[in-house]
């Protein structure tokens, strides 16, 4: 008989924090110079989403490598949970980026290398799940999808880092530029950091829930088998 746990407090903190971030994105931060009207505000959502998509990819990689070493299906559950969230956030990042591009430059898609990178990340996640769906056996699904994840991971840096060096980019200069100083007005920077923290918290909470659910499922299946 499981004991009744007191409801954890921190999802509520997260909720309050995100509400604050959303408010701040519209009312606290000033409109950015050089961007059309209020459109720059999307940065507070787009950048954290892209960041979480990449974070999820890293979590997936680590979990995949751990599965390949230890063959513990919980690591596979972790990899899948991270990938699910990664897929959602890369869709969000692509969409918000595309909306911004439409407002700013008049077209939804411009083949900017960073745009393309996030879209490719999306394709990697989609491929990952297509692969998983096609394999009924648990262990084989885990080892094949982990292998694919590692293979995809070693290929990605090329698109994200190497190609942009060769191409001219539409993306606004990265915040941390060559001089090493931060080029953003301080209130905007605060909101951006707040949003990053909030989205990371959101990812971490959803991820933990997903993994916990998967563990219960695994335990139940293992006890059914023995």
């Amino acid at each position: 008989m499981t004991e009744r746990k007191r409801s954890p407090w921190w999802p509520w903190v997260l909720f309050a924090w995100m509400a604050l971030v959303i408010w701040a994105a519209f009312f606290y931060a000033p409109a950015a110079k050089g961007f059309k009207g209020e459109s720059a505000r999307i940065v507070f959502f787009h950048v954290p989403q892209a960041w979480v998509a990449v974070l999820a990819f890293c979590v997936n990689l680590i979990a995949s490598l751990r599965y390949l070493r230890r063959r513990d299906l919980v690591d596979d559950a972790r990899a899948a949970a991270a990938a699910r969230l990664g897929l959602v956030f890369s869709v969000l990042a692509t969409v918000t980026g595309s909306l911004f591009a439409k407002v700013m430059w008049g077209s939804f898609w411009n083949w900017d290398p960073r745009e393309v990178s996030i879209a490719i990340l999306l394709l990697v996640y989609a491929a990952y799940f297509a692969l998983r769906e096609s394999i009924p056996d648990d262990e084989r699904r885990a080892s094949l999808s982990s292998s694919y994840a590692v293979l995809a991971f070693v290929t990605m840096p090329f698109l994200v880092f190497v190609v942009p060096r060769i191409y001219w980019s539409l993306h606004p200069d990265t915040l941390i530029n060559a001089r090493g100083s931060i080029d953003m007005e301080s209130r905007m920077f605060q909101v951006l950091m707040g949003a990053l923290a909030g989205f990371t918290g959101l990812f971490s909470w959803l991820y933990t829930l997903d993994v916990r659910l998967a563990r219960v499922g695994l335990k139940r299946r293992q006890s059914e088998e023995s």
């Binding site: 989609a126 084989r140 292998s147």
Partner: protein
Amino acid sequence: MRASSLLSESLAVLGKELTSELRSRVALNAVGLFALTTLIAVAYQIGPYKIEEADRPHLLSALLWIILFFGATSGLARVFVKEEDARTAKTLRLAARPLAVFFGKLGFNLILLLGLESLVVPLYCALMSYTVESVAGLALVMACGAVAMAASSTMVAAIIARASGSGTLFAILTVPLALPLLVVLIQGTKAAATSAALAAVFPALRAIVSLAGVTLVAAVYLFPVVWHD
């Protein structure tokens, strides 16, 4: 039993693949047919005259790689899928060192790709009036590109053969891995076409070679896992 080397075992696998393929010609036909059909369709519609002079370098290099990639993906998965279909996979698994299997089949896919390139590229240049300033540069890009593409496709083929083996799954999994490679290949081809200096292709070539290297190293670790699981 004398000690044998990975090289001789891989060559044995490569020899078997080549013999097998030359007798059945399934992959050759598929790849050749797809590539030639696409080439003819493109050449007929677009031909040497329909593209503006200014756009020619990048459009023509992009089109060339679309044709090559399309042709390649129709045949690269066969090395593993046919083993599973014919039920010889288990026999091979029990008889060989995993890396010998990988390198032998990689070698076969590489030969297939190089053959495809040798067939399509000259035809393309002729049909589309694609003048290439640096033939040596183009040859380098094509050769290194073939290695990189063979490495990642062979690895993906091994993965999908243990899954559903379908061509669709192969395409879905290959596309995200191939896109970065295609981008640099198109650039390298364009550089070779527009500049007679060999050094013009070096930036792209560096990216292609490092991509190939990284994929091969990953494959050396991952293939035994995929093959045996």
